[in-house]
């Protein structure tokens, strides 16, 4: 094992700040920077399949399950498919994070999934969220932001979640016939949360115009192939003008607008801020944001370049433990340091739920908070300790004293080391390690 009390702080920092927390069976190599960059440059590893699946489920599979549940829900003995499938998908996502040997890349997957958040608070998303992360987010975390944005916005999970699937151009043939109209939810959130952010100064008129442009993006649920589809009969006719930029009618223009928004300066500033907040500090220094912005801007929104730039930021290394772990980070880091086997992924699923950050259940389209104040509250802190206790109960053969240097290296305080040594049982010792203030941070 490459770990001992003398482990380089850089290895620890790489594992907790950029990765998802150290695992005893995955020692960080001596050159931590090279290890991180390799995760960006090397091909991605395939994510785990949901249990019982021999091939990767697709959005069409999810839509078929939704349809089947819908058709049969009146049958007395019918077992619905979607709730069980959602549990399997959530476990598969957590399993990937628990066991991956590319934890930096996996953190980026979680980060971008949260930036373009979908939530099962819209019920159909349960059947689609797994595919959403696999096909709209994962392939693009080292690609171009505009490709990720187009894939995410066109995905059935997003079309359902933000009501685009039911928005109709009021002057389209369908709108005229059914007297239906716009739903501006997705248009607003794309401008506000996914791309420009309100500081860019768009207006209600821009939101409405963009909503008019997005009409026609719908989900085919009846005829094969199931999935996202453009319905010309629901598309609002005529040109639309968004922030002074004119877009003609038609599906290509939807992509053109999304790409235009993705490449907008305000979008790159917004993304730079969010990346800096996630990897440097809740209130990152403006110089850091400027540097990340410059990388995004000069590369045309290349997310691999941005990820490498993060690794090259001295500020990401010179303030250890600046970030409070979110509940999801805390659960993943706890289970990783305990060396949890892939089969324990369902424990991670229930663990994050007990700390109010259930998988794909963000309460609003803005996604989960990414700052201490979003999570630091009295009851939450006590619950983390109680969850640590319940996890620790599953790992009574480990030696907590030996895990301290792997988990925290030189960041462990003497007080914590002493408390763990003085614990009355392995379970108590592990609980104190996981509940210690150092372990609550990354």
């Amino acid at each position: 094992m490459g770990h001992d009390a003398g482990m380089l702080p850089q290895g620890i920092l790489a594992a907790i700040r950029f990765g998802l927390g150290p695992r005893p069976d995955q020692p960080v190599p001596a050159d931590a920077v090279a290890w991180l960059k390799a995760q960006i440059r090397d091909p991605a590893l395939p994510p785990p399949l949901p249990e019982g699946w021999e091939r990767t489920p697709t959005a069409a599979d999810g839509l078929a399950m939704l349809r089947q549940d819908q058709m049969n829900r009146a049958q007395p003995d019918y077992q619905t498919l979607v709730p069980a499938f959602y549990r399997l998908e959530a476990a598969a996502l957590m399993q990937g994070s628990l066991t991956t040997a590319m934890p930096f890349r996996e953190r980026l997957v979680l980060f971008w999934s949260n930036h373009l958040s979908v939530s099962v608070r819209e019920g159909s998303v349960r059947a689609l969220a797994g595919d959403y992360v696999r096909t709209a987010i994962r392939p693009h975390v080292t690609g171009r932001f505009e490709d990720m944005l187009v894939a995410a916005i066109r995905h059935p999970a997003m079309l359902y979640y933000l009501n685009q699937a039911s928005s109709v151009g009021p002057n389209s043939p369908l709108g005229q016939r059914q007297r239906r109209g716009l739903n501006e939810n997705l248009a607003r959130e794309v401008l506000e949360l996914h791309t420009l952010s309100p500081v860019s100064g768009y207006t209600q008129a821009d939101v409405t115009e963009f909503a008019r442009l997005l009409t026609g993006l719908r989900v085919e649920t009846a005829n094969e192939p199931l999935g996202s589809r453009f319905w010309p009969t629901a598309h609002e006719p005529g040109a639309k003008t968004i922030l002074g930029q004119r877009f003609e009618e038609g599906p290509e223009q939807i992509d053109a607008a999304l790409r235009w928004l993705a490449r907008h300066e305000a979008t790159h500033r917004h993304l730079a801020l969010k990346l800096a907040r996630h990897f440097v500090a809740d209130a990152p220094p403006p110089a850091v944001i400027d540097r990340l912005f410059a990388v995004l801007w000069n590369s045309g929104g290349d997310l691999a370049a941005a990820a490498e730039a993060l690794v090259d930021l001295p500020e990401a290394w010179d303030r250890p433990l600046a970030k409070l772990r979110t509940p999801q980070d805390f659960v993943l880091a706890s289970m990783r340091i305990l060396g949890a086997a892939p089969e324990l992924a369902p424990m991670a699923v229930s663990g994050v739920a007990s700390l109010n950050q259930a998988v794909w259940l963000a309460p609003a389209p803005i996604g989960w908070p990414d700052s201490a104040e979003g999570w630091l509250h009295p009851e939450g802190m006590i619950r983390r300790m109680e969850l640590a206790y319940s996890l620790a109960g599953r790992f009574s053969r480990l030696n907590p004293n030996e895990l301290v240097p792997i988990a925290l290296g030189p960041l462990a305080r003497q007080e914590t080391i002493r408390a763990i040594k003085g614990a009355g049982s392995v379970r108590d010792g592990l609980t104190l390690l996981l509940a210690s203030p150092e372990f609550q941070r990354r």
């Binding site: 607003r188 949360l193 007990s354 009295p378 006590i382 007080e415 609980t431 104190l432």
Partner: protein
């Protein structure tokens, strides 16, 4: 090194502070504290945040407005007296039929409905609007107006609990700030020994960020464990959290100011059916709050508010999009209720804001400031601290029954 010599004196000192020593010795038995003298401050204030933007015109429908039916189309419910119709509020407005307990309060003159209300901001972003509603300012602050108001409330001798209480799994921005507040959420599953809590408290104690949160959490647990029977603690959901809030607020040594939140209001589609559940939860919760407060309901004011209203017309999906003017509710024995307070802007041609939203005619800060001044009896300086740069926003009088 012996763990006891290191450990026990600290548990003694801090444990006493936290009520932990009682937990350690007697489990969940009642804390052995002297019964506090009755406090002069009987007033209770509860703020309920409806996150996601309640459609005010769905909850309280202006059926008496000549333009209402045409503009609302399928979203308009039958007038009072008809089957599944609105509950009458005096001839012009009608209450959504799911809000039966609120209607009871209205008939008992304990519900005041404020219509065409909005915050001071004009954004249609949920997140910005909620931040500003809770900050009490035209920008997001790091503390909430209710917490800043608490700064002006002196410590009550003999109180076991903090004056402020957040109920639920999140600490809303509304209650974040300098003044420590308690927090309560229903517990789950097997618990560690009290001793392990104490060791954990010791480890976290000196941490500037986590220390205060951990200490506050343990303190709140100690108080709540003492006051709640298991039946009440085990249930989840908004109505049961309201019941818990009521029970804790009813205690003479308990909190005085509480905040709760409930969601499900962002009805962009199928609004008619989607609103029923959150409205029913809200109604049940308010009823349960009243029931658990018992005689303290007489001294209680509840403010129910949301970040903005929704579009007057239905969108393309029988839903409504983000709007401006909406509704707020004031409830409680302390409220001069039984009426709808609205400087009604009308819905006809040219009267809607940007030809889509209910034009707001009252600023929610007027209402909140009125409650702080007349109910909690806070001085003008405290109102100014709660709502900075709002001197021109005059606290609304006449909200309280006197």
């Amino acid at each position: 090194m012996s763990k006891t010599s290191l450990h026990l004196p600290r548990l003694g000192r801090r444990g006493l502070l936290l009520g932990l020593s009682a937990m350690a010795v007697a489990g969940q038995a009642r804390l052995a504290l002297a019964q506090p003298a009755a406090t002069p401050q009987e007033a209770r204030l509860v703020v309920v945040l409806l996150r996601g933007a309640l459609d005010g015109l769905a909850a309280v429908q202006a059926y008496g407005d000549a333009d209402f039916a045409a503009l609302r189309g399928p979203l308009a419910l039958p007038e009072p007296g008809n089957e599944e119709g609105l509950l009458d509020l005096g001839g012009f407005f009608g209450l959504h039929p799911t809000l039966a307990q609120v209607h009871e309060m209205y008939r008992a003159n304990q519900a005041l409905i404020v219509h065409a209300a909005a915050g001071s901001y004009r954004t249609r972003s949920h997140f910005d609007a909620q931040d500003m509603l809770e900050s009490g300012a035209s920008e997001r602050l790091s503390s909430g107006w209710l917490n800043r108001a608490l700064e002006a409330i002196p410590d009550r001798p003999g109180a076991d609990a903090r004056t402020g209480l957040a109920v639920g799994l999140d600490m809303p921005l509304l209650l974040r700030g300098k003044v420590p507040v308690g927090m309560y959420a229903s517990p789950r599953g097997g618990r560690p020994d009290p001793d392990l809590y104490a060791r954990f408290a010791d480890l976290a104690h000196d941490d500037p960020l986590l220390g205060p949160a951990v200490m506050e959490g343990l303190r709140a647990r100690g108080f709540a464990a003492d006051r709640l029977d298991d039946g009440l603690r085990k249930a989840g959901g908004f109505p049961s959290l309201c019941g818990i809030a009521g029970r804790l607020l009813a205690d003479p040594a308990g909190p005085r100011v509480a905040a709760l939140e409930t969601g499900g209001w962002d009805t962009h589609s199928s609004q008619m059916s989607r609103l029923n559940y959150p409205l029913r939860q809200l109604d049940e919760g308010l009823g349960s709050l009243k029931a658990q407060l018992g005689s303290a309901w007489q001294h209680t004011a509840v403010l129910v508010m949301t970040e903005f209203g929704r579009t007057v017309r239905a969108n393309g999906n029988q839903g409504t999009d983000h709007g401006t003017g909406g509704v707020a509710f004031l409830l409680g024995g302390a409220i001069a209720g039984g009426r709808v307070a609205a400087d009604w802007p009308g819905l006809g041609a040219g009267k809607l804001l940007e030809d889509r939203d209910l034009q707001p005619t009252v600023d929610l800060r007027e209402i909140a400031k009125g409650l702080l001044r007349d109910h909690l009896r806070l001085p003008a300086t405290a109102l100014e601290a709660a709502f900075p740069d709002s001197r021109e926003v005059v606290p609304k009088g006449g909200l309280l029954a006197t």
